[in-house]
Amino acid sequence: MRLKTFRSYFEATARQRVAGVFDKNSFAELCPPSEQFGSPHLKHFNIPLSFDDGVVVGDVLLGGMKICCAAQEGRFMGGAIGEVHSAKIVGILKRCLKKKPEAMVFLFDSGGVRLQEANAGEIGVAEIIRALLDVRYAGIPVIGAIGGSCGVFGGAGIISGCCDALVVSEEARIGVSGPEVIETNMGVDVFDSRDRALVWRTCGGKHRYILEMADDIVENSMEAFRNALIKLMKIKKTYDLAGLEKEHEILKKRSTDFSDCRDGFDVWRKIGFSDVEKIPSLTVEDLKAQQKNRGGVK
């Protein structure tokens, strides 16, 4: 049975995404699975390990340009970050300072810190953030893509917020606490985590794009992500105090503008979208056109 060439980004494994998004046959994996650096801890919990601990890292070409990449496997333990997983990501980030690629591209798909290795994961997240910011400070763009089954939550959500730019698909979700946690804390009347439409209006790709937390939104295909990443790589951003001051004003205004919002609909209405009920069924092209028309974003 032939291995299919996957077009769907959502359905693909991390390895298939690397093969489908970046230039063909250009990937040089570092610490490949043949070296068997799996988790030394999962055996205590009777859980099978994975030879790459759920993340693939290496050097690769994108549009002919040299980049470093990391791709998380969302279907292994929910993409959760453990000791080896985080160390591989820190490694590839530190490698950027040595190799000076055109960009660091991160294909995110993670629910956050791996409980079975909680402390290592938690510290690992902080180490990743620090190494990521070192790369940005050195003038190398760090671009993230989100479009898998886990999206980014917890520590992974925070890491994604530290990137220069993000591209999402409609399927993406970005947050800190997952929908079930919100429901548990606030009651099912306030938030029903089984209401998929509500969940996506709260933390899904379209909402994050409208809020300008993501720089681009694309359809769920390898090609679309590839093209978006190539474009985003070329936008030079600086990581400095002036930029953080600007970001502060944006975040302060957002919290004031939407302080009484309970739903994505409320936010989109306040922003000035007409016919907000239609937004969930819009194509991403139509949404981007509307976003441009009302003067938002890039």
């Binding site: 610490c31 650096f37 030394p40 801890h41 890292v57 453990g82 000791e83 080896v84 160390a87 591989k88 820190v90 490694g91 590839i92 530190k94 490698r95 810190v113 409980l115 079975q116 290795e117 909680a118 402390n119 290592a120 994961g121 938690e122 510290i123 997240v125 902080a126 180490e127 953030i129 620090r130 910011l133 520590g155 959500g157 925070i158 890491i159 917020g161 530290c162 947050g175 800190v176 606490s177 946690v181 919100i182 804390n185 606030m186 709260t202 933390c203 937390m213 990581y239 105090l241 953080l244 502060h248 975040l251 302060k252 957002r254 919290s255 939407f258 919002c261 309970r262 994505g264 936010v267």
Partner: protein
């Protein structure tokens, strides 16, 4: 100990803070000069409001007192788990706050975090683990998730996890485990002023936590893994 009780021990030469909505801000005096104090108290949860208030303090110290050391007083019950905060993009707010801590360090401020109460999960990442160096007071608590909750999620018996946590430092709550894993530079006890003086002398240029974790035996794999990837041609 309350935040003021801790500060009195850390700053025998004097300190003064204001507390508003569980946000602590002020100054402490050392022989070498003033230290900016930015923190939280009362086991508060870290949500959008807290992040904006803490962020303002970082922006102020970078603008008004370049190079002044910052002591982060850490006591939180994790990230706020509420609908509006998630809707607004809490992850981006937390990212903003950690970038401010990082930028302060790059702009020659020593950024020292001291856990004196609790420091939990997303709250610990937002305000604690992204400082230049992270410390904890003896008797304080650092944790991702309490063991009974871990038992429920992993479906393993609590007694088994309690036994396991005696030898496997990577997963169970507690300052000792975070110390062994390299997450804490050291645990403060006895002369807290001396502890601060030592912290102020630390070079915060490189993140050596995974090597420290390997040396202490808490994280045996991470440092070598990172080095291996770095060393490949």
């Amino acid at each position: 100990m309350t935040v003021n009780e801790v500060l009195n021990k850390v700053f025998p030469l004097g300190s003064k803070v204001e507390i508003e909505n569980n946000i602590v801000s002020g100054e402490g005096r050392t022989a070498a000069g003033i230290v900016q104090i930015i923190g939280t108290c009362n086991n508060t949860v870290i949500g959008v409001d807290e992040i904006l208030a803490l962020s303002v303090k970082f922006l102020e110290v970078m603008r008004e007192n370049p190079g002044r050391p910052v002591l982060m007083m850490v006591d939180n019950n994790g990230q706020k788990m509420a609908l509006n905060d998630e809707l607004l993009g809490l992850n981006q707010y937390i990212a903003h706050l950690v970038k401010l801590q990082d930028m302060a360090r790059r702009n020659s401020h020593k950024v020292i975090a001291l856990v004196y109460g609790n420091s939990i999960a997303g709250g610990f990442i937002a305000f604690g683990l992204c400082a230049g160096d992270t410390y904890a007071l003896e008797g304080s608590n650092t944790s991702v998730m309490a063991l009974p909750a871990v038992a429920r999620v992993t479906k393993l018996p609590l007694e088994y996890l309690e036994e396991l946590s005696k030898t496997v430092a990577v997963f169970a709550p507690g300052v000792k485990n975070f110390y062994l894993a390299g997450g804490l530079q050291s645990v403060w006890c006895d002369d807290l002023n001396q502890c601060l003086e030592n912290a102020l002398k630390e070079d915060q240029c490189s993140d050596m936590r995974s090597r420290i974790g390997m040396e202490r035996g808490g994280r045996s794999a991470a440092w070598n893994m990172t080095q291996k990837i770095l060393d490949e041609q």
